[in-house]
């Protein structure tokens, strides 16, 4: 698999108001096992810091994870901020976890997050779908993630 062979770099982050970390500890292990090089920013990452770290680390993929119920609102603000930066406009960014306070899988919420610039949304932390996404991304040489460094 192209992704694992080339040890692409993933920036893993919590959202500005989310203090949870087990999701981030787990995802770091999971992504590392996929052969990816992971930079884990930890919890409560403000948008400006996220932008700075994206510039600094030039990742091939950004993974936003949130479980505190503010994931939709925080995730939306984060992607709007990222997409406003010309050099980050094409950077693949995905979000997943428990994104609302109600525990519902909300299609409208997913659509709005996609429209704002996320390449994929894994509501309710759908890990299998995320794994498929990583595989597909690795198999597509046209995407930035599939490109050689």
């Amino acid at each position: 698999m192209a992704l694992s062979q080339s040890a692409r770099k993933v920036l893993l982050t919590g959202t500005v108001s989310d203090s949870h970390t087990w999701n981030l500890v787990f995802l770091e292990l999971f992504l590392t096992e996929q052969g990816l090089d992971v930079v884990n920013l930890g919890p409560c990452v403000p948008e400006d810091l996220l932008v700075r770290r994206c510039r600094e680390h030039t990742p091939d993929l950004v993974v936003v994870s949130s479980v505190n119920g503010h994931g939709y609102a925080d995730g939306l603000a984060a992607i709007v901020r990222l997409r406003a930066e010309p050099e980050l406009a094409d950077l693949p960014v995905v979000i997943g976890g428990k994104l609302g306070v109600d525990g519902r899988d909300d299609a409208d919420r997913v659509a709005r997050l996609r429209a704002a610039g996320y390449d994929a949304v894994f509501d309710d932390g759908d890990l299998l779908a995320f794994e498929r996404f990583l595989t597909d991304l690795a198999a597509e040489p046209s995407t930035p993630v599939g490109r050689p460094a």
Partner: protein, 412 residues
Amino acid sequence: MSTPGGRSFGRFVADAADAGKLVVQPRMGFSDLRRMRAGLERTRFAAATTVGTVTIDSYTRVGAYDTARRALTDGTPLNGYPIVSYPLATTRALLDGVHDDTFPVQVRHGSSGPEQIIRALTAAGLHATEGGPVSYCLPYGRTPLRESVRNWAAGCELLAELAPGTAHLESFGGCLLGQLCPPGLLVAISLLEGIFFARHGITSVSLSYAQQTDPGQDVEAVHALRRLAAEFLPAQVDRHVVLYTYMGAFPSTARGARLLLEASAELAVRAGAQRLIVKTTAEAHRIPTVEENVRALEAAAAVAGLTEPDPGPPGDTGIYAEARGLVEAVLELDADLGVALHTAFRRGYLDVPYCLHPDNAGRSRSWIDDAGRLRWSSVGRMPIRATAEERPAMTSTRLLSALHTVARRYDQ
């Protein structure tokens, strides 16, 4: 409405304990005023000895008061009550006629910068909250520890000043990452934070401990905490132990969740804790409703009523000695406990397993042994011994399995 000078949160819990009652408390906070009010009223009138909870939302927790205010204007639901962003009159109206000497209310938040929250809660007539320089910094945020220590020293002094005679502060130190932290470290941090509060003017404290993977180990840990509190806290400081129902991944079946809650109520009484923070059957799925919280309170109270405290001390597997070793090592570092805590983390004398914070050494690791007990596989530079033999490397699958050990056991 209760005013400073009235009966404190600590006094209420002590009186309940004297009457042989375990105080039960929800983890509950809503931005919707009607729901928040209903939550307090229903908690007050539940068939149990209860105290109320106002849990603050995550924006307020990180000091983003404007974002919280915007969410209120936009009608976006928050995951808690934005006590700083709501006008004081709103919070007073929320509490009017429900909060009084017979029903104290604690504000729960998780903020490493608690000043505005303390100002808002005392202005509204409340005097009990929780937190700590370590437990509200390291596991769950990115505030530098030095800054959190400074904020919490000031926060304690502010609370003592604004609620003289009634200020109560609970250490969240017995929870840390919620799970996979061996009991010795949980007990040590809880006690150290209690001492920190006392040194900064708080005269009524509670020390926490979160239910872990093994009831025998947990009973021993709560005993160790009580014993160490008697040895290290100044005699004039009022104290009690608060137990948390399991704070990790919760059973997904209603039956499993109920059994785990009941086990925690039993543990609280057996081990001599005076207060229990409950979890609900909805925990694995979403933020619980008021109704689910009330059911959890009543179920816990019913089990507590049927449980007797253990007659003698539990067996000793070394939790007391481990916690004491950690506490002494920290206290010896500096006369100023805030400086000592900072130095302890910098040197790795305290090291929370799986914690991502940059001020944490990150060299300790834990695992759940075949008997279901939490053990150290690596202690890093902590002045204690690892009890485990060599373990296979932690993988995502093994971590997930460990994180769900308790849920799996109770769901079966």
